[in-house]
């Protein structure tokens, strides 16, 4: 068990050297290459995944920002348009009120004027009529100034309308 056998030693060394040469060419080179290329691929994939994650995060942040901006814009627009509408409504209403008032005023004025002229016309008409009637009744018994006085009195007693 213990005795050294030089022949066996030589066979061991020869076998080992041949094995080393053969395995180096046919096994270790492709195995190590496959290992290294896969490691590289995995590292690359991890890196690109990291990059993609960062990009996605950035895009999400950007989107969020844009959305917020849009929301603010909308809110502002709505508020502005509300103010404009309010203003418009106010304007239209006041304009309408004004024109209505004006029309009313005009109508009142017109009525007043018509009434004045009608009254005037009536006054002259009534005076003439009264004179005619009085002439006929008194038959020139009264002089003209007295007549006038009387007529005025009658007119005064007439209702305004």
């Amino acid at each position: 068990m213990i005795d050294i056998n030089p022949g066996l030693m030589i066979w061991t060394i020869v076998t080992f050297v041949v094995l080393l040469i053969v395995l180096k060419a046919f096994a270790w080179k492709p195995l190590i290459q496959a290992l290294q290329s896969r490691e590289k691929e995995i590292t690359d994939a991890l890196q690109s995944a990291e990059q993609a994650k960062k990009d996605a995060e950035r895009m999400i942040a950007e989107n969020k920002l844009a959305m917020e901006k849009a929301n603010q814009e909308t809110a502002k627009l709505i508020a502005e348009s509300r103010v404009v509408a309010e203003q418009l409504k106010h304007d239209v209403l006041s304009k309408a009120n004004d024109s209505a008032k004006k029309m009313l005023e005009q109508a009142k004025d017109e009525i007043e004027r018509e009434k004045e002229s009608a009254l005037l016309q009536l006054r002259t008409e009534v005076a003439d009529l009264a004179v005619n009637v009085a002439e006929k009744i008194l038959d020139e018994s009264l002089d003209s100034p007295k007549q006038k006085k009387l007529v005025d009195k009658v007119i005064q007693q007439l209702p305004k309308n």
Partner: protein, 303 residues
Amino acid sequence: MLFSEKVTEQTAQAVSDTLHHSIADSTVTASAIEGREENLFTELLHHIHDGNEIELPFLGHVHLPQFELFGIDLSITKHVVFLWIAALLLIITLSIVAQKNKKNKVPKGFGNLIEVFVQFVRDEIVIANMGKAGLGYLPYLLTTFFFILTMNLLGLIPYGASATGNVSVTGGLAIIAFIMIQVSAIRAQGLGHYLAHLTGGVHWSLWPIMIPIEILGLFTKPFALCIRLFANMTGGHVVILALIGLIFVFKSILIAPLSVGFALAINLLEIFVAFLQAYIFTMLTALFMGLGVQAASHGEEHH
């Protein structure tokens, strides 16, 4: 070398003596079956010993060719056959795995298992002990690891034998490790620095003491590698065979469940030891190579 050889020889003698003793004590009529015991013990060791024949299922014992070359016995022994079986197994399976793994982006099954080991040797043994500079020695260390592992495991299958349970085989591996350790140190430090390191950096008057010690130090590391692997692989087999042998020693079938149970447990342990010893041999080789490689960067401090 000579001294430790003697020691190991003595130890082996002592072990065999005690084994004989216990066998003698446990048998009822010791003298009557002395011959059988002798048989049993040689039968036990026969499974561990190298030999000029191999056992095959159905074919029985097959004799192997024997020849000498330049006065050296280069016979094809049992362990040489198992060296070759291990080498062939590795070449065939690893080439197939390498081709498959090159095609598959995601290795599956056995290919994945092999890759795990390759990656482990690369990251945990080579880079951990030698740094990135050691990657050039990766094929050597991978071959060492897989070769030793396969030889260890071959001893656990029926009709198999562990070539690593032979001190000549582990000695051969240690010689290669010794050469690789020196080559890597010389390549990293340069021959001048390498030789300067042998002086230990002490005053020249102490060189006659220092240089022999340093040179001896170079040999102890691979020598320890050789003996560690050999002893671990042999020890496990001896324990299993001794446990099975108990059945024949006690001549009782009642002892069989106990023996088989213990032998099974030791077998499972042996699977672990097969991996562990392959790892330790490779790891220590890388560590010793790493010492030389790293000494290159500290070289200036010593001189």
